[in-house]
Amino acid sequence: MPKRTDIHKIMIIGSGPIVIGQGCEFDYSGAQACKALKKEGYQVILVNSNPATIMTDPELADHTYIEPITPEMIEKIIKKEKPDCILPTLGGQTGLNTAVALAESGVLKKYNVKLIGANLATIKKAEERDRFKKIILDIGLEVPKSGYVRNWEEAQKIVAQVGFPAIIRPSYTLGGTGGNVAYNAEEYKEFIHWGLNLSPKGEVLVEESVLGWKEYELEVMRDKKDNVVIVCSIENLDPMGIHTGDSITVAPAQTLTDKEYQTMRDAALKIIRAIGVETGGSNIQFAVNPQNGKMYVIEMNPRVSRSSSLASKATGFPIAKIASLLAVGYTLDEIPNDITKKTPACFEPSIDYCVVKWPRFTFEKFPATNPELTIQMKSVGEAMAIGRTFKEAFQKAIRSLEIDRYSLDRKHIDSKIDNERLKQILRANRWDKIWYVAEALRRKLPINEIYELTKIDPWFLNNIDQIVQFEDKISIKNLKQAKKLGFSDKYIASKLNMPETQLRKQRIADGICAVYKIVDTCGAEFEANTPYLYSTYEDQCEANPTKRKKVIILGGGPNRIGQGIEFDYCCCHAAFALKEIGIESIMVNCNPETVSTDYDTSDRLYFEPLTFEDVMNIVEKEKPDGVIVQFGGQTPLKLANALSKAGVKIIGTSPDSIDAAEDRKRFNKIVEKLKLNQPLSGTAMNYAQTVKIARKLGYPLLIRPSFVLGGRAMQIVYDETELKSCVENAIAVSDKHPILIDKFLDDAAELDVDAISDGKTVVIGGIMEHIEEAGIHSGDSACSLPPFSLSPALIKEIKWQTKMLALELNVIGLMNIQFAVKDNQIYILEVNPRASRTVPFVSKAIGVPLAKLAAKVMAGKTLKELGFTEEVHRSYYSVKEAVFPFLKFPGCDTLLGPEMLSTGEVMGLSDDFGIAYAKSQIAAGNNLPTGGNIFISVKDADKPKAVEIAKKLHQMGFKLLATKGTCIELIKNNVPSEFVLKMTEGRPHIVDLIINNQIAMIINTTVGKQTIKDSFAIRRTALDRNVPYTTTIRGAAAVTKAIESLKQKKTDVKPIQLYYK
């Protein structure tokens, strides 16, 4: 049956900012949907607050609304656009929840908008666990015993049935937020209360534990004629009890007999039919008891999910694209398989390789949190690796993670621990447990015992054992075998005591080279037309490089805090740009969540780790005309020197220029030459040198390691006692590079400038003024484009300085400079001659695809040729706000600092700065109050400004509550305010008031270790209770402006395409 002609305009709701549990996989799915539906001739209306997405590029949809994803905002858009329907299944849980809210509130009915893909009844059947459970039981399948609770009384009744350990899952939260395992009554009470608070519906599911069972997932597609296919099966290496997003997972299922697999398949078919997902993809999770094969249905997502994008990348079957086509009426047999072209999409992919997905964690950024894995997701990204065996894929996955581990080597753990301690660690679900499993195998602990401790299936343990037992057998004679087992050159070289480059030479001389196989959906049964490749060590190579002019783009690897979707956005644009100018684009990346690893983003895709070894293998096979390293963040940049030394042509800004910008001494000379200013600074290799420099410069100081991203281990230090621990940290992450020491500019404004240069012409992309003061990592501060408080003269000077630096560093492509402004004096904080995190934001703000232009410049075009020689000025404000994962990390503070902690960003647009800022806050989930009590407690330095802010708030009708010092200051300045006790001063104190819902917003700035410690509970409680808070005085000023605008003006919605007109 062909596509529907009764609908013309389709609205797609995106997933908003990147948060833990909802990452860039939804950009991948949304972008696929937009492309597919537009190609079919539908008008596509897109809503997403996240500017760093490909899907919000203006050409992907007819009207793109970068607006907060709230029912209120979307109603405004619906009113304006009058779409025929909403496709709610591609924007993750956010998209789904918002669509549900709109349906339930009657908005959809009012404007006659239908849901396609999944209707309200279906979504509710899948999402409301007691209904889901009933349906599953009705069709003869089993689920763990469970009950839904809304209060403590109900919770007590249920736990009597399910027993301990009991699983607690709050309803309708992202990535299992608030999920917990209670082993005793005390924990149970605590977790229930926390869960009830977190659930937007105040509901929590309490469930029988199936900890230690095997976990599986099936990706299912259904069309409106009830044709159903399983796209992929996934088996988790980690047992039930660890969130599947935090588990190492493998595709396809490895240890199920066909009988068991078909039972699971039958169950999946029954479930998708019973739940009634009309069209599209769903994923269904199962738990299997390894002792007797008993199978429980765990949950179902009636939408495209994280696993769908993994399954798409693992099989070559584009789930999101096909789901979109099915939603508009096509059936599976009418859609061709992109890869074979000749066969239809209604089949079940057969793969002839093994896929391993490995989550990436950033516990080091949240030291207050216990780094254990539970049923609440904590990973911030993932890497995927493909190999012909599990062992090969597993070892490739390790080096894809970019955590400076290239093997299971014992040097990564404390190998001196005794067996008892080792067993203890194996029992705990640490993120790095696998290295301890390897150690246990090295020590010849019986596999059975390791299984009992870890519940990792013996099949995986035996495979890992084969790797471990080969470690000491590695010799120059059995390199081939080592490579087949997936060992990295780096590890083999260290085992053989030779430099990696020498081993590489030897290996190639011996004829042991990587070959490339095609991911073709069909186990080679049909010819593949899509060069989607992975490496292995076998006989036949299918790479078949072309003779075209070609450029390799190195991607950013797994997402992490500091390096995420923004860089993938740039890499995709590089591929688009090369295509436009007739150069073959070759993408190298290992992140399954991204658009860059979609096989139709570039001409050729190598799904490979981003290490020297793996990249060189591709370079030698493809012999490209150039390699782009400046778009994928720090990952490819780190490889630039080694690649350049190996004779690879890096296009764009030279590795030498990159080094000149990073190397403190070289950079100082440039600044001196140009007669520019920078904060006084020094470099040191150890503590003694640091102290010397510190005494010379005076406090406060900014201490940081060089060559790191996201401000890793960066800290502001106010005195010598703080200095010591800080320096130790910095040395630990600096890896032989020097530590940088800067005089810290207190209370300065900070600016980010993105510019593009072809070596002769430099054009400013945008100047962003940070909302927060200098010292907060630029990735964590909100910012406004154009600046909202700086004088034209100052801006002119900044532009001039940017141009001088770009020309002096001979930048070819993009560059980013951070400036500080204090007392009308401009200081250069940092220069990065590469694509920065803000490139997508600036591109969206000015309506010019900077990354695309930069890629063309790098390929040899001039800006003049490209017609981009003048800075674009816009009359509206674009505000970016960062989004933080604090909620997922119990016990960590929410104070911002020089180390980046945010996972994502949102954008607000308006002609009015206050409204633009307000939109960014709403989009980030900070519900700005228009009435109620505002609590203020600020450090002394901020008091004058706090008075101004408080005055305004008072005039707007807010009641002010303040701690003693602040309160006195306010009253002194004729601002009425009420005195509130600090936690240390008795009760009822401020935290009591927050818990009693008496506080609408919090302004809390602090300095000094003790005050920070004392006020921690205020910030944490505010976070847990979803009370908006700001921890900087500049942030408070902006929020006040936003509230003022919200109260006076209308918030309007407008597509970016109209903003650009």
């Binding site: 007999t257 009988k259 065996t389 010819e527």
Partner: protein
């Protein structure tokens, strides 16, 4: 143990041998199912074939006594990328290696199986010899030269039962649990190399099953007054099985007939169709088949090297009911004027999806109609 696979075009794959120490000729084919290797090993349709699994990791869940389709493996050899010697599954009894040793099947691992599959895809299924006993290439070549291949040979007689017998075991799930309805239909099953899951499904659908040798005559069958006749799957080329074709012709119209795979081809030849050999056959568990009557798609289990040409049926009294969506080959038809139908693929699955189980129900309905 070294292992070799030598193909008729001279290509030689060298890897490690496992399973039995032996050498055997056969037609080299590949199967794209990712699970179900034990069912594949014991499917008599693979007789005189050397089966390569495209999924690289085989043996992961071992073998057991339930997941068998006949009393033993009938194939000539088994080729995988990596054999697993530490099977992990609660149903496992002995490892794949031991199982193959026990049944004297030579096997090969650690070769580039994808290269082999691409070669077969490009040149078509080839004759080959698998060797794990150290025989020299020259001797293997000589032996392979003598191997006649499958075309125009009757190899059904090597695998079918010599005596008739009754079968009363219904389908078992993975836990060994069964449901057995009362037997209401007398069904005679021609064994051309039958998979036991067909028998189990017939029993589960209420049939009293009598299995008879492939060369049983129509008269002998009709004498038993069956409610239906089933034509089984089996190995090789249907062309030379003239005795079966003749018998089917005689049975047409006298008793409801249902055929699967080779049974489908024999029925096709019996109604006057022609057969041809596919380039490399269909062997897997993911082939989309469209039911032209319901317009629904079934994901099917397949295993055949020969096909009935649908064009050859155009002027016959048959209706084409099923087509393969990958290559538009014939997957099923039914006779318009007599109660008989057949499918080319495997509705009994095992291994593979259960989407087409309904066909057994249709057989029952057909018998009901005639009764």
């Amino acid at each position: 143990m070294k292992g070799i696979l030598l193909l008729e075009d001279g290509t030689c794959f060298r890897g490690c041998g496992f399973g039995a120490e032996d050498k055997k000729c056969g037609e080299v084919v590949f199967n794209t199912a990712m699970s179900g290797y034990q069912e594949i090993l014991t499917d008599p349709s693979y007789h005189e074939q050397i089966v390569t699994m495209t999924y690289p990791l085989i043996g992961n869940y071992g073998t057991n006594t339930l997941d068998v389709e006949s009393n033993k493996p009938y194939l000539s050899g088994f080729v995988v990328k990596e054999n697993c010697n530490f099977p992990s599954n609660w149903r496992n009894q002995i490892s794949l290696d031991d199982y193959l040793k026990k049944h004297n099947i030579p096997a090969l691992e650690d070769i580039d199986t994808r290269k082999l599959v691409m070669l077969l895809r490009q040149t078509g299924a080839m004759k080959g010899i698998i060797c794990t006993d150290g025989t020299s290439i020259k001797n293997l070549k000589d032996e392979l030269d003598k191997y006649p291949g499958l075309v125009d040979r009757d190899i059904v007689k090597n695998v079918c039962t010599k005596k008739s017998y009754t079968w009363d075991k219904p389908v078992e799930n993975e836990f060994g649990q069964t449901i057995k309805p009362q037997a209401k239909y007398n069904v005679i099953v021609f064994d051309y190399g039958i998979k036991q899951n067909i028998l189990r499904l017939l029993v589960s659908h209420g049939c009293k099953v009598t299995v008879v040798p492939a060369d049983t005559t129509a008269e002998e069958v009709l004498k038993q007054k069956p409610d239906g006749v089933f034509l089984s799957n089996g190995p090789g080329d249907p062309g030379p099985i003239s005795y079966a074709i003749e018998t089917i012709r005689k049975l047409l119209g006298k008793v409801p007939i249902f055929g699967i795979c080779l049974g489908h081809q024999l029925l096709g030849l019996a109604v006057g169709g022609d057969r041809f050999k596919l380039k490399f056959g269909h062997h897997g568990a993911n082939h989309p088949v469209k039911n032209l009557i319901t317009e629904k798609i079934e994901i099917t289990s397949q295993n055949h090297g020969f096909c009935i040409d649908p064009d050859s049926l155009l002027d016959k009294d048959v209706q084409i009911t099923h087509m393969n969506l990958n290559d538009n080959t014939l997957e099923g038809f039914r006779c318009k004027n007599v109660p008989a139908f057949a499918v080319q693929y495997h509705p009994e699955a095992s291994p593979g999806p259960h989407d087409s189980n309904y066909l057994f129900g249709e057989f029952i309905e057909l018998m009901d109609k005639v009764k």
